[in-house]
Point group: C2
Chain length 147, copies 2
């Protein structure tokens, strides 16, 4: 006797909004679920687990594409595990690069914050810095940082 859940209940159980669940379905991370009498999506326990998988992957910062690859590996239990390890390692490397970049930015920013106490913007250290300082790299799009 399998319990089934409508999308709203799945949402509150997984912490994943109904919109996102439908989105994952459209992207192919979730198989189209069965439909109830009124055409409502109906999810079983396995689907819940799969959504939890996606959710936890997201909470680790993995993108949906990587998660899709991991799900595909998980669907084929006989595959070599190296591929999964590669995805995680690649992401960890990516995270470490990003942390380093953000730390560098934070350091740069700490040098200018609180430098102009109660003055006028004409003499503001922050604004002066932005005008004068040369970014390290002037290549196209280089140095742009998300967040």
């Amino acid at each position: 006797m399998k319990r089934h859940y409508r999308i709203g209940e799945v949402a509150s159980r997984t912490g994943c909004s109904p919109e996102s669940i439908r989105h994952y379905e459209k992207l192919g991370l979730l198989a189209p679920p069965q439909r109830g009498e009124q055409g409502y999506r109906s999810y079983d326990q396995a689907a819940l687990a799969r959504i939890g998988f996606i959710r936890h992957g997201r909470s680790l910062g993995l993108d949906l594409h990587s998660i899709q690859e991991l799900l595909a590996l998980s669907d084929n239990p006989d595959t070599d595990c190296t591929a999964a390890d590669d995805i995680a390692s690649r992401h960890l490397e990516h995270l470490e690069e990003r942390i380093a970049a953000l730390q560098s930015l934070a350091g740069e920013l700490r040098q200018v914050v609180h430098q102009c106490r109660g003055g006028k913007t004409a003499n503001c250290q922050i604004i002066q810095t932005l005008y004068n300082h040369q970014p390290a790299c002037t290549e196209r799009g280089c140095g742009d940082v998300k967040a």
Copy 2:
């Protein structure tokens, strides 16, 4: 005798693509420049400096909205400098939060990477972790991390 530059030269001098420059104009960060004979945008030195300002702000990770606020402050030299300091401080705080979050993710990821040596995905530690592990926070959208 003021030199003027077309958008392509501005691009190579500032490291900012022509598309981005036009984008900044559309968003109101740059005033619409003078136009040459064929309708080509024509930038003077002040515009170059302003684009450099934007560029450096972006390289520090500021969003365009914050940069616009800083530009507005810079355009009114008599304004109190506190506002600029607030923007920078807020951003620094934001950066530090993000660094902490990413470090936490990286730590979590380091625990699972390289745990499954040459096995099959059926026993893969990474995939098991994604299935089993409960994210700390199951609130809507909580725990999602960009990058």
